[in-house]
């Protein structure tokens, strides 16, 4: 029997990997993928908690997260495409016309 703790540790690790990706990479698309990884880590925690409580709310919330992720990815990739048309690059350090 796999306990709740196992799933939560896995979720925490995955969240941390995603955060590290956001903070260390400069390619906007990879940053965006890392954010998806973080959202999935939170989903895993929700389903795991929901399983052991037991309570269906966690799964309902995961459903909404998927809807949100789909919308966010569509909008985000559209923005990345417009940036690419301007700069021929998706490097976030080249996207810094605006300073202090």
């Amino acid at each position: 029997m796999v306990g709740l703790n196992w799933y939560l540790v896995l979720s925490a690790l995955l969240f941390c990997i995603g955060a590290a990706g956001v903070l260390t990479r400069r390619n906007a698309i990879i940053i965006f993928m890392s954010i998806e990884l973080m959202l999935n880590a939170a989903n895993l925690a929700l389903v795991a908690f929901g399983r052991f409580i037991p309570n269906v709310t966690g799964q309902a919330l995961v459903f909404f997260v998927m809807a949100v992720a789909a919308a966010e990815v569509a909008v985000g990739l559209a923005i990345i495409v417009t940036i690419f048309k301007h700069k021929e690059s998706v490097d976030i350090d080249k996207v810094n016309l605006m300073k202090w």
Partner: protein
């Protein structure tokens, strides 16, 4: 019962706005290039939505639904959320009014680099309806967020608002700045959302499956209604590590949305790059909605843990106002200066959240916050509207302070409105900005945060310098470049509303404050009716 007609009353403003967004799209399909009609439809519809919010409150109180819970405890139908819905509807109305002809005859901005020259060939064929319907739908998200009493509704409302704002920030896709602003907002906003969601997951686990605010309160008091607790009993009112970590992650997500200091670095760039009417919207709407759910959560759900979160929030509030004001001093770009000033104002508003942690003064704090938010959007939107007018007249791609030299001689009315907004932002007496600060600060003093109020007052004094500097430049310096500002009638109406609001509420703040107090006294946490 899962759903009834009284539920429809509660979400009437949202329903009207959503329907309106669709109507706007179809109207433009049928009659293209008719912005005035679109604007009129939007304005009437938003007024209807605001009225519906007010009426729904009236119906409730007369029909005696009282503390019944609507929509399974997802959103509150109390005076507080109705007040906020009216605020949000007014914000949307003002933004629609100042956006006139934003897309039809945009100034030919000097190109900044090769990319932009190339993109000049992809000049937008934006339809006005895209813009107006996004404003309306984003407002729906804000309304849901502002009245949320369930973590699920909070999350979905916040995301609806955020995704709408990402789109609005990037809507001038042929300008590199608009796209950059959208990208920055999107990446950092989605990052913050991930934290918020992880926080919600931890709270869900720590409270044994509660997402409803009232259920969280019950769980914190140790009265689990059903099921087995996942946690060993914790010492009362200290919270378990799981819950505290959850609150911490949730706090990061919310502080990001209101641009409080360690999480503020996105806002100046995003505010500067976004189209100016959208910047006005961003500086007013999300802040009001996020702070509403913030105060409900921390004042009414988690006050028992205030010994844990209050010191943290104290530091963040102090940092937010100080950093915002000090960096604003150094700005020579007016739009950026207003961005930092709005960070500083978020710091003052955090005082209300802190004060709400004390159960004795939480209603005064919430009322003060409602009053502050009302005045804040009037003066901020007024200021950004003038920035927008001047920028269009100058045909610049930036917003240098030099553009404002001698404005008063050439454009006395526009300069007068900007001066009034700035004086009110600084909080100088006959204007409403003074009372908004007074109410929030006095609530904080009553809650015992005297040290922080001293810091806030000192900060207000510092802020007078950069606000009045711009006023002095407008009135004392000679005009440098010719200026032909064109004021569209709808913008004039919006500026008039702001002026009347700032002056009127400055002279007679009592009426609005009474409304705010009634609203704050009614804050309640509905419970779900079906499992």
């Amino acid at each position: 019962m899962a759903f009834s007609y009284s539920d429809l009353f509660v979400i009437a403003p949202e329903i009207i706005l959503t329907a309106l967004a669709l109507v706007v799209i179809f109207v433009e399909l049928a009659w293209p290039r008719c912005e005035a009609a679109l604007q009129a439809i939007c304005a009437v519809g938003i007024l209807l939505a605001g009225a519906a919010a007010a009426i729904s409150l009236g119906v409730q109180t007369t029909a005696g639904f009282g503390s019944a819970s609507f929509l399974n405890g997802m959103v509150a139908a109390d005076g507080f959320s109705v007040f906020l819905k009216v605020i949000l509807a007014t914000i949307a109305l003002l933004i629609v009014l100042i956006s006139r002809s934003y897309f039809s005859n945009a100034p030919n901005q000097p190109t900044e680099n090769i990319g932009e020259q190339k993109s000049a060939s992809l000049v937008s064929r934006l339809r006005h309806s895209d813009y107006y319907s996004l404003i309306l739908l984003t407002t729906v998200g804000m309304m849901v967020l502002a009245s949320a009493t369930d973590l699920v509704a909070l999350f979905i409302g916040l995301e609806t608002m955020s995704v709408g704002l990402y789109c609005l920030a990037g809507i001038r896709f042929e300008r590199v700045r608009s796209s950059e602003s959208a990208l920055k907002y999107l990446l950092l906003g989605a990052f913050a959302s991930a934290f918020l969601l992880f926080g919600i997951a931890l709270i869900y686990g720590a409270t044994n499956g509660a997402t409803n605010f009232k259920a969280i309160v019950d769980a914190l008091q140790g009265s689990f209604s059903s099921g087995i607790s996942l946690l060993e009993p914790a010492p009362a009112m200290k919270g378990t590590p799981l819950l505290l970590a959850g609150i911490g992650f949730l706090l990061i997500g919310l502080l990001f949305k209101i641009a409080a200091v360690p999480f503020h670095f996105w806002s100046p760039d995003v505010y500067q790059g976004a189209p100016t009417p959208v910047t006005a919207f961003m500086s007013a709407g999300p802040k009001a909605a996020a702070l509403a759910v913030f105060i409900r959560l921390f004042g009414w759900v988690l006050p028992g843990l205030s010994t844990v979160w209050a010191p943290m929030l104290w530091l963040i509030a102090a940092l937010t106002m100080t950093v915002g004001n000090i960096i604003a001093l150094a700005q020579t770009d007016v739009k950026r200066m207003l961005a930092y000033s709005s960070i500083a104002h978020a710091g003052y508003l955090l005082l209300a959240i802190l004060a709400a942690g004390n159960p004795q003064v939480r209603e005064a704090a919430a009322a003060g916050m409602l009053f502050y938010l009302t005045i804040y959007y009037l003066m901020n939107i007024g200021a950004f509207a003038v920035v927008y007018i001047i920028n269009r007249a100058r045909e610049n791609s930036d917003y240098q302070i030099g553009d404002y030299y001698g404005l008063a001689a050439k454009q006395p009315w526009v300069a007068g409105v900007l001066a009034l907004c700035l004086i009110s932002l600084a909080g100088i007496p006959p204007t409403a900005g003074f009372f908004s600060k007074l109410y929030v600060f006095s609530a904080a003093v009553k809650a015992g945060y005297i040290g922080l109020v001293v810091i806030a007052v000192l900060n207000s004094v510092v802020s007078v310098y950069y606000y009045l500097r711009l006023v002095v430049y407008m009135y004392m310096r000679p005009l440098e470049k010719p200026l032909a500002a064109r004021l569209t009638p709808t913008t004039a109406v919006a500026l008039m509303i702001c002026t009347i609001g700032i002056l009127g509420l400055g002279l007679l703040p009592g009426g609005l404050m009474k409304q705010a107090q009634t609203g704050a006294a009614q804050i309640e946490l509905p419970v779900p009716t079906v499992e």
